[in-house]
Symmetry: C2
Subunit: 205 residues, 2 copies
DNA sequence: ATTTGATAGTTTTGTTAAAAAAGTCAGGAC
DNA sequence: GTCCTGACTTTTTTAACAAAACTATCAAAT
């Protein structure tokens, strides 16, 4: 019975890998269940044996990606020597996360509204982990006495994370309002975020 | 000839006022040229005598609003006693601008992409004025020696303005990704922005 | 120079049919 | 009983097209 479940888990994993590749290269709506099944040389019906529907399959891939990301954050939790280091780590890790899975997230841009509700749960987990990481770093500094006491570290981190998300490209004349940045702009955005960190962390001292 | 032009300008102004009201209450797409003409007891054809088309009419209203906003910024240009005051002024003025014309900007949310190109020109003017105002304030402080010298004030202001735009509501669990904030959230956003100012300005010291 | 009714041209909306994809199920293999 | 499939049903997407609504134009009137 355990052996059976192992087999199941292995197959589930295979399905997730194949799905990840498809979603990564073609996005959610341009990927069909038949194609995924074809990649694995199995029938479409079998996919539905392992996953209830397409969006759950997508979400399962997403949860796996998110889980990897969360793991990276947790591994470093409480191990920072100063505030700046913590903020830098969060921004850099996040940057890599987005760059490595850029096309996968086309799903967000395409559907814009009416996404499956469960997606926000995962997004919430990620955000909470980021908040926890940075709020803890702030609290540590407060305890050490190296920055002034603050009323509410979480509130500050929320503002910081929002501010990060606001950073866009297009200096002098904004041209098109595009919610999702183009891939070739990610590095420029990243650099601006590093500048924001400099100022923000200094402002907390 | 001058009298004639005066008359023209007065009528143009009337049209702009009526259009403003319509756009403000019903948004761009839910306002028809017939309705505007009806409000003014004139024929639709006459509207086209004064304005080339509907989007140009909308843009004319927008330019008027933008012009008022720019005037407010210019009146205070260089008259700040410290950096914080300048940043506060910009954020507060911007807040009032959005609140007072909230529904007018539904146009942006509805059309999202494919807006008339001229709109970005006006948006650019606003942004440039904001940048100029704040960059000047920073430079003044640098000259006074009350904050450290910075390599590029404009770059810093751009990051600040982007950060401001990123401030959203929805603390713990984000629910719906909505590009345009709801009206009832504007005050909460405003308060968060004030917090950002505190930290950001301090970070420049 | 201003104004309008009539009308031409275009965009939006609603309908329907065909195609494609999602999702189901009875039954076969092990 | 677990895993798997081909055939099938249901739902969604796409395309085509007609009707309605709206934008935009223009000859003629004041």
């Amino acid at each position: 019975m355990n052996a059976t479940n192992d087999q199941q888990d292995i197959k589930r994993e295979k399905i997730l890998e194949a799905s990840h590749q498809r979603f990564l290269h073609y996005g959610y709506s341009k990927t069909t269940m038949n194609e995924i099944a074809g990649d694995l040389s199995m029938s479409k019906a079998l996919l539905y044996y392992y996953f209830p529907d397409k969006s759950e399959l997508y979400m399962a891939v997403m949860r796996k990606l998110a889980s990897d990301y969360l793991k990276q954050l947790e591994d470093k939790f409480g191990h920072f020597t100063n505030l700046r280091e913590a903020f830098l780590f969060q921004v850099n890790t996040h940057h890599d996360f987005i760059v490595n899975n850029y096309n996968f997230f086309d799903f967000f841009r395409l559907n814009e509204q009416n996404l499956p509700d469960t997606i926000w749960e995962t997004v919430g987990h990620i955000r909470n982990a980021e908040i926890k990481l940075l709020a803890n770093a702030i609290q540590s500094e407060v305890d050490k006495g190296s920055i002034q006491a603050v009323t509410n570290p979480v509130e500050i981190v929320e503002v910081f994370l929002d501010a990060l998300h606001g950073i866009k490209v297009g200096g002098s004349v904004p041209h098109k309002k595009l919610n999702f940045p183009h891939k070739e702009h990610l590095d420029e955005i990243h650099n601006k975020r590093l500048l924001l960190i400099d100022i923000f962390v200094k402002g907390l001292k």
